[in-house]
Assembly symmetry: C2
Homo-oligomer: 257 residues x 2
Amino acid sequence: MTQPSAAMLVIGDEILSGRTQDKNINTLAQFLHDRGIALAEVRVIGDTHDGIVAAVKALSAAYNLVFTSGGIGPTHDDITTVAVASAFSVNVIRHPEADRLLVEHYEGTGLDYNDARQKMADIPEGAELIYNPVSAAPGYRIGNVHVMAGVPKIFEAMLAEMEAMLPKGSDKHRVSIQTEIGEGTLASGLGIIQNRYTGLSIGSYPWFKPGQYGTAVVVASLNQDDVDKAALEVLDLITSLGGTGTREQTVSGGNTV
Amino acid sequence: MTQPSAAMLVIGDEILSGRTQDKNINTLAQFLHDRGIALAEVRVIGDTHDGIVAAVKALSAAYNLVFTSGGIGPTHDDITTVAVASAFSVNVIRHPEADRLLVEHYEGTGLDYNDARQKMADIPEGAELIYNPVSAAPGYRIGNVHVMAGVPKIFEAMLAEMEAMLPKGSDKHRVSIQTEIGEGTLASGLGIIQNRYTGLSIGSYPWFKPGQYGTAVVVASLNQDDVDKAALEVLDLITSLGGTGTREQTVSGGNTV
């Protein structure tokens, strides 16, 4: 019944300037949730050496697992690897297996495996590769830090590749309930229900459309019985307020350790 | 020619669990970029008192401006206001103007302005209101921290309402160039161009579609002449590599101080 803790570090000026809408936070959040790993913090920072070093050190010390996205491509603004190596006080080396994968990838493409592309075979010493089935240039794990590409399709593919490298947390159970009752009408009742339990969270998320509004209530806990009992209490609360509640789905994440 | 620095704090378990895809980071990033304010860091954390207090203190000390989203609704899991007040060592008070706005908002709706909804008129002492034209419950500014709702439409509306409260940074100029040349082929040339300038950044963003790939190159600086000159050099580089480059647009942000 343990949940490993995790943090994410998104590295990229393009997110902070608004040019690019990040997609990787949600991808990782769902991936970890489904495996019973609790994503506790995300930071988004720019492509600066000192900023990356400081954030990697802070997050690596504070959480069981860290995942980064961005900055491992071939160009001058891809500085994640040098910074991560620096955070772990190791050298960057040309990794023979990464080199081999990239040579193979560029063979027959008409693209030159030039200095810039060879840079993508440079990995902090002692790191273990994370395979990239999309464009070959690998990510890697060093200590508890998993370094991945920023391009969403590659980020997703790398997550799938490294699934076997991750610990598995306990089942997290979750029930969503939809109702047309406003959040403010539900509020005090939800607070009373939550206070009856330990380690159970009840989130409420109001929504608005033209002429309509309502609330999604999410009950979550590691204890399935508690979730089921509290969900029934939420449905009763909704009925007592003259509304209707619809239980949307049960999402169970992770595998029991 | 100054750029105020900014950080964002996204508060919400629903983002970290993957249930909700955040939209406010990109909205704020574009809003600040257009006003010449540099978004330097974003953190996403859960709805916990100590976590919010620590993050508000850290970001408020490190940056000129801080913007938060989430946790100011009526329910038990909306704990942002108490935590922000605690970070500034002030009390939470029932704000008369916020109270008046909410009374007015609920009049004639058939919804009771109950204890839970009245909580939305509770604001840290000394804070200045940020109006909410969507659902009345205001955000507020205390010190350099701007506290806003998490619902994307309300977050956006509050940004518009508070525009006049913000300092204006210098113009940031930006040119995007699209090319079918791969990032790895451009890499060394882009590095050489960037090194000729001070305070100019060249970002390169590879993209892939079935059977196609290419690179978007973004040249940005506070100095418009530098951006124009460097953009021409990037276009020349692309031509010299046998490709075609298309200048997409010039985005200028902010108003000169």
